[in-house]
Symmetry: C2
């Protein structure tokens, strides 16, 4: 055991700075078995502080530097330094957020952030909670919708309720399927609505699907609209969906985990018009807005519903004979018992930057994505999957020279389907760029370059990413694809 163990924390800032410094590569990729051999991960014996530092530095050496501009593999990237500061303070204060007595200031901070966000989303009288990620928020949404329709579900369960069906677009996030399993709806009761070429739910199809379900005697429990699909970044036509939901009296949830950050921008928030008609909304500031993982909000229009649906009134924690106003004990709204003070990270970012600062930050994100989209549109060998840019997702294929000017038949596309992952492999092994790829509907594997908060990203770096893809693409031969 390290003897001066209280001092290890003093080393952390330096370790982090060293291992995330500019000169470190994005990734030193090793295959799993090889990395297992390299790293000293055994925990049986205990080591000195110096040995621990060496092990940790080794772990970080082989970890992905998500702070680099060339980390574009996911829908998050670098963190806002104010957010990271908030995260560090939150960890140090090790506060669980259930009662006012143990989290007095942090409870007020969560309430303040929620109230500010609810106003921003134009549901000022609503309620909300921070949850550990967008998938959890999806569970919250379905639970809220179900409880609103059938409050007896809380005590009686699902067995005697009508068969409920959930509607979502084919481009929406998979968390709705996991939620449908967990909550007892079953994945078959998630009804998939087709999208247009841009990835937006086709409202007429939704309307038809709900009609069909009703004819079958099924109960339409929720429509999940997406504001920012995972791959294309499509924003469903929220106002039209709201019309359909109103017509059929169905709970409208908007999964704005990705696109919700556009609400911060005075220039782009009108892209989410109609979101204010939703019954519930999820938004992950840890994606586009640079809050450290995890920072995810679930918002609900109807005040009191979260508490009514989720409370268990545990006597040991939510005592009603406390000496202060226990309406500030907000933890019983949550499915969690212990809960991190994720609101504090977001509060730090917002407090430092203000509404205006955040608006500019999101404008920058969109502006760099637009630059990237335009650069790709006009560059030989690149082909966009969708012309328009809704969220900052730029989706495209790179067609190596040997593949150009050919019949684009099934065989050709089968080869393209292999080329994209191969380019990704070369990019990763060369530590040039980490970028996502995916098939989607009839589309074969293509790249998704998504942009989110990054203080240092500029047009030159974006061109560098494009050139890296081009360079690796031209290294590929047919032989390599076997």
């Amino acid at each position: 055991m390290g003897e001066n163990n209280l001092s290890f924390l003093d080393k952390v800032l330096n370790i982090v700075k060293d291992e995330r410094s500019e000169d470190k590569p994005l990734i030193e990729f090793k295959h799993p078995k090889e990395l297992e051999r390299i790293l000293d991960l055994d925990i049986s014996e205990g080591v000195t502080d110096q040995e621990l530092e060496e092990c940790v530095r080794q772990v970080l050496k082989y970890s992905v530097k998500t702070n680099k501009a060339v980390f574009r593999n996911q829908l998050y990237s670098d963190t806002d330094p104010y957010g990271l500061s908030g995260a560090w303070i939150a960890e140090a204060f090790n506060t669980s957020q259930y009662t006012f007595e143990v989290a007095p200031a942090f409870t007020l901070i969560e309430l303040k952030v929620l109230s500010h966000v609810l106003k921003l989303f134009s549901i000022p009288d609503g309620d909300g909670i921070f949850s550990p990620g967008g998938s959890m928020s999806m569970l919250y949404a379905l639970v809220a919708a179900r409880f609103k329709a059938f409050p007896e579900v809380k005590s009686k369960g699902m067995r005697n309720l009508p068969e409920m069906v959930i509607f979502t677009s084919e481009d929406s996030h998979y968390s709705i399927k996991k939620a449908a399993h967990w909550l007892g709806f079953g994945t078959e009761n998630v009804k998939i609505v087709t999208t247009n070429e841009k990835g937006q739910m086709i409202t007429e199809e939704l309307d038809k699907a709900i009609e069909n379900a009703k004819i079958k005697g099924q109960y339409p429990i929720m429509v999940n609209a997406t504001a920012g699909t995972t791959v294309l970044g499509a924003i469903d036509p929220l106002n039209y969906i709201a019309d359909v939901c109103e017509k059929h009296n169905v709970w409208m949830h908007v999964d704005a985990c990705w696109g919700g950050s556009l609400m911060l921008s005075s220039k782009y928030r009108n892209r989410l018009l109609g979101i204010e008609r939703a019954y519930s909304i999820s938004w992950n500031p840890h994606k586009m807005a640079g809050a450290p993982l995890q920072c995810s909000l679930f918002l609900v229009r109807k005040k009191g519903l979260l508490h009514e649906a989720n409370s268990a009134s545990a006597q040991y924690l939510f005592q009603q004979d406390k000496f202060y106003d226990v309406s500030y004990d907000t933890g019983d709204k949550s499915i969690q018992c212990g809960r991190k003070i994720d609101a504090f990270k977001l509060w730090m970012i917002w407090k430092a930057r203000g509404d205006l600062g955040l608006s500019q930050l999101l404008d920058n994100v969109m502006s760099i994505a637009q630059f990237c989209q335009q650069a790709i549109a006009k560059r030989p060998g690149f082909r966009l999957v969708v012309d328009s840019l809704q969220c900052p997702n730029v989706c495209f294929w790179y067609i190596p020279r040997f593949m150009r000017n050919q019949d684009e038949d099934d065989t050709w596309w089968d080869i393209m389907h292999k080329i994209t992952p191969k380019i990704k492999e070369l990019l990763t092994l060369g530590s040039l760029l980490m970028v996502a790829y995916s098939p989607l509907r009839h589309h074969k594997n293509f790249f998704r370059l998504a942009f989110s908060f990054h203080p240092k990203i500029d047009e030159k770096q974006v061109l560098g990413m494009i050139e890296a893809i081009e360079k690796c693409g031209e290294e590929i031969t047919l032989d390599m694809l076997q």
Copy 2:
């Protein structure tokens, strides 16, 4: 917006050190409305770094110092400094744990920690996952049990399945009720089994309850045994419960969120004998073992079940045409998509201290609790709720002098019921001690002094806590209880 915003992180260590220093009081309690007036929480405008620092320091001034020995309000307290170091690094590296490519070293760390823990719990061939808290682990357990019995639930939902019932003791944690609601069982299908005076489930009652359910045509889906109840710290008779579960072929889950840390101690782990017969186990190292919030494991005996039950095979994330061994993409076992690398905090603690260091640490926790229990047992005016100590929970009343030597009739107990919260109020307002209180079954409000990882706690401090309770208890008059 702060101009030198990248440097704010440099200030954090000092802010944290200052605001958690020895001379700071445990709590400067303000009522919610008053605290709202004191704190400058508005986030509309943006502030300079200097202003931000002032606001943050103000927030921390009115936050509870969970690092102090006198913070005994919950089942967690100070954090292990290695764990906190791990948490800071994890936040800085901002890694999400779903695929090997974005979390190569951290994926191996999670696998290593899981494998070590599975061995420790004597289910070496099992599987596991880190989840955001014990309540989430309870959801995992019920989902696993249900999927094992009725795999069709994933696609078809709950409607056509038999009526399922869940068994748990009356002293168990409320998360099982929340889980029963969310997952569609309904809280009425949580069958409460009575406990003995020590708070342990009475096995014969469990057997009877299962028999009764079967007679009614209900399907017993899971027995939730508790190793370390929230209030008394009772450990259910695990081997006997395992016998009953085997007899009836029911999934046995052990909620060892609190008591599971005793497995770290070579001296005390035999208290959990029988846990190796469980089908699933939850354990929160963020409680007794000092990992920062949140650090919670869900373990399952049957390998492959987590993946089979929870996977959705999202094409954009878990592509099967990657260039490395995708069996290391472990994220599809999870209900979450993005997921923090909580394993790293625990790995840091374990790597630094080793099995032996952790064993000693837990021995210290138990030893200080035993000292407290004995000191309270022999001190006039104090009365233990339970004589024996199973987990480090010391539960007791303080009977002020004016209440002693009287008939302990209902009226007397009604007064005691008010005295406990009043003492707590005085302790809190005086910043002397934060301690939990609770009613339980027929017991009126009593105190729970629970001990967990704290590097500095000693017998003198424990006596100080007892004296503080005594002092505040003697300040109370009947008039104050109106």
